[in-house]
Subunit: 199 residues, 2 copies
């Protein structure tokens, strides 16, 4: 398949790229500043240009999401906005526009996260964005057929522990490669409306 | 208790006001254009003014939320933004700022909706906003104590069937007065981090 991978330069993105390439897929990596294609997917117009440049696609996989981690008492109003934009609206927009560009039997795989269901301190904005992604996936799944849509909800990646470990005390980490298997499952499988929890 | 009720002029808001008044509470009703206090809670500065005007509070109850219902293929990028702002960001901001204004043992009761979990066609944007609210409540519940926070997730109200009935074919409707009982439960009870499903 010809797969657009948004966030290909990140920790999870790299693992997903390797997993998909090992399965024989053609991966078009998208990054904000580097990649096969470059786009800031928080900008709807950039998403439109991205799909034009990408050409025919069988699947869109998203591993990119920027979220602010900050205790609720220190969060600013803008932190909510920034996090919705960076983790939720960006993915919803990739689906909204992508539905017209992806093959009729193609799929979308979004990224959520464990804190949509299992909260951690300082995760309020990120949890909200993840909850939005999962609820959106459930609804889009009844409107998109025959296209499919799922979310992958990873726990913290072992590779991300230096940056995010302090927020996830006692939460089991997994290698990004294990999270990547859920992307293969979503893309090559036949389910829709699922949240694949890797935790 | 002294309770700020945001959305007091709406169908659900009216039912919640009656339920709270019947329990002997003092209700300060907030509406966008009319009410004991007037505020557009999608504007963080208006929320700040609202709390200053409201004075001491034991609880904040929110029944207001604007969401766009439109098939995924007809949704515009702005519909996502408008819906997040009208149903999710507004409530998150009322909590973020309210934590400094509500009594230490006070509570917040937010409104979500059945489609966070049980999707309907044309509900993608609203589902996402509801999912955000519920995930936020779970996280805020571990950061706010001794303050509490819950969400009420209503099915469509019988009183709202003329407007929303077409989106909810075969989904059981309930009187707004029944949804209002969950607000009493949240405000007078001791639980936190709950989603009270009235469906």
């Amino acid at each position: 398949m010809r797969i657009l991978l948004v966030g290909a330069g990140g920790t999870l993105g790299g693992a997903v790229r390797r997993a998909l390439a090992a399965r024989g897929h053609e991966v078009i990596g998208v990054g904000r500043s580097a990649g096969d294609l470059v786009a800031d997917v928080t900008d709807p117009e950039a998403v439109a240009r991205l799909y034009t440049e990408a050409g025919p696609l069988d699947a869109v996989a998203i591993t990119a999401g920027d979220a602010v981690f900050r205790p609720l008492g220190e969060l600013a109003a803008d932190d909510f906005v920034t996090t919705f934009r960076g983790k939720a609206l960006s993915q919803l927009e990739l689906v909204r526009q992508g539905a017209r560009h992806v093959a009729p039997t193609g799929s979308f795989t979004l990224v959520s996260g464990i804190i949509a269901e299992q909260p951690v301190v300082a995760g309020a904005a990120a949890s909200a964005a993840n909850g939005a992604v999962e609820a959106f996936v459930r609804t889009a799944a009844i409107e998109l057929p025959p296209q499919r849509i799922n979310a992958v909800s990873p726990t913290v990646a072992e590779e991300s522990l230096p940056a995010y470990g302090p927020f996830f005390a006692g939460v089991e980490a997994v290698p990004a490669a294990r999270v990547a298997t859920a992307y293969v499952r979503s893309i090559e499988g036949a389910q829709t409306g699922q949240v694949y929890r890797i935790w």
